[in-house]
Amino acid sequence: MSFGPAWYPVALSNGIDPGRSAGTRLFDQELCIWRDTEGVAHAWEDRCPHRGMRLSFGFVRGDKIACLYHGWQYDRQGQCRLIPAHPDLEVPATIRAARYSCQELLGMLWVYAEREAATPPVLALDARDVVPVRSLYIQCAPSAVMQALVERSKTIGAASATLLTLDADEQSVVAGLQPFGASKTALHLVLPAPVADRAARQHAVASWAEELRRRLEDEAEPAAERAAVHEAAL
């Protein structure tokens, strides 16, 4: 299974509060995801153009994000607007952070895997209201997680390569799959609304998810250990 240029979920919408930032990863690309104080989500390369510091360590001020190191501030377009050490300087237009296309659908934050996607995500699933459950980070290859979901679910609908509806503990769950790296995967889990007895169902799906994570990691670990021994031998 390969994961090419496409839209990928990188967080639950409630994982990034207004005015906050966080780091994440898509394949080998480090991303800074942040939400401005008006609630608009952004996904950028996680690198300040000044010294390469991770922008996700920075802090959000209104519609700008500032780097933790020297406070350089970038607007929504990625354009640097303020260099605190030179407050009177009109910042050159060439100082820009690299942006990715970012959309919110189904209670998840979606990012296109290459810069400047031309088309919005097409998710062949009604853009219904959802109830967030949790993001689950698994030390296991994305293809192995996908395979396990297919094997363990009685019914499975693939709306896209990275969006599935499946049974979790007798409940219909929507799962967005994020290839975090070669041996790490994130699953972003939501319940289609309306949900009766909301907290009880969230707990049930969380239990299912934690058990899935435990099994996948138990299976993945011996392989990783073998690889480590092999590396050591080389």
Binding site: A11, L12, G15, D17, R20, A22, G23, T24, R25, F57, F59, A66, L68, R134, S135, Y137, A186, R198, A199, Q202, H203, A206, E210
Partner: protein
Amino acid sequence: MTELTLHNYELDDQCYKVRLLLSALGCRYVKVDVDVHPGREQRSAPYRRLNPLGALPIITEGAFVLYGAEAILAFLARKYDSERTWLPDDPTTLGRVTQWLAFAGGDLNAASLARAHALLEVEADEDSVGRASRRAFRTMDDHMTRREFDGAHWFAAAIPTIADIALFPAIALSRDFGVDHDEYPALRRWMTRLRTIPGFVTMPGIPSYH
């Protein structure tokens, strides 16, 4: 010294727990700086008499001496918090607080060790303490994920307790030893809330801008 005195090292995450609670309680105290790195003063004979384990934090108040961050938090909460919110009396909450205090001084101690190894040349198996730290952080994130399902925002009670204070430094400082907060969304939200506690103070490694 008869006044409440904290034997302190600014870069020590265990001392930070105590400074954080003292600040939240609005307690006046004397701070004695100890040369932990590179002096290893906490292991000197005078300090061994206060704490045979040769570690900080230590508090003294007159002839009374107490060491170990979690014990000190419990003592301070009981003595100086007349509202009894930081260490509540009711058995279930007290039990839960104690459970997380034991976790903070137990499983989560791997994170202190990982950080001391990265910053202060303390010996440790980097891979194994790193793995154990991530396992402990995951346990905490799983717990807070479920707390949020139930509309709760703190580890052990409807309000912040000394359990929250004891658990905060390890994850807030985890970037010091290369563990980012990417995988812990519920802990990110909880850390944001913790910063709003009146009297919240930072330490080196915890930026104040947020």
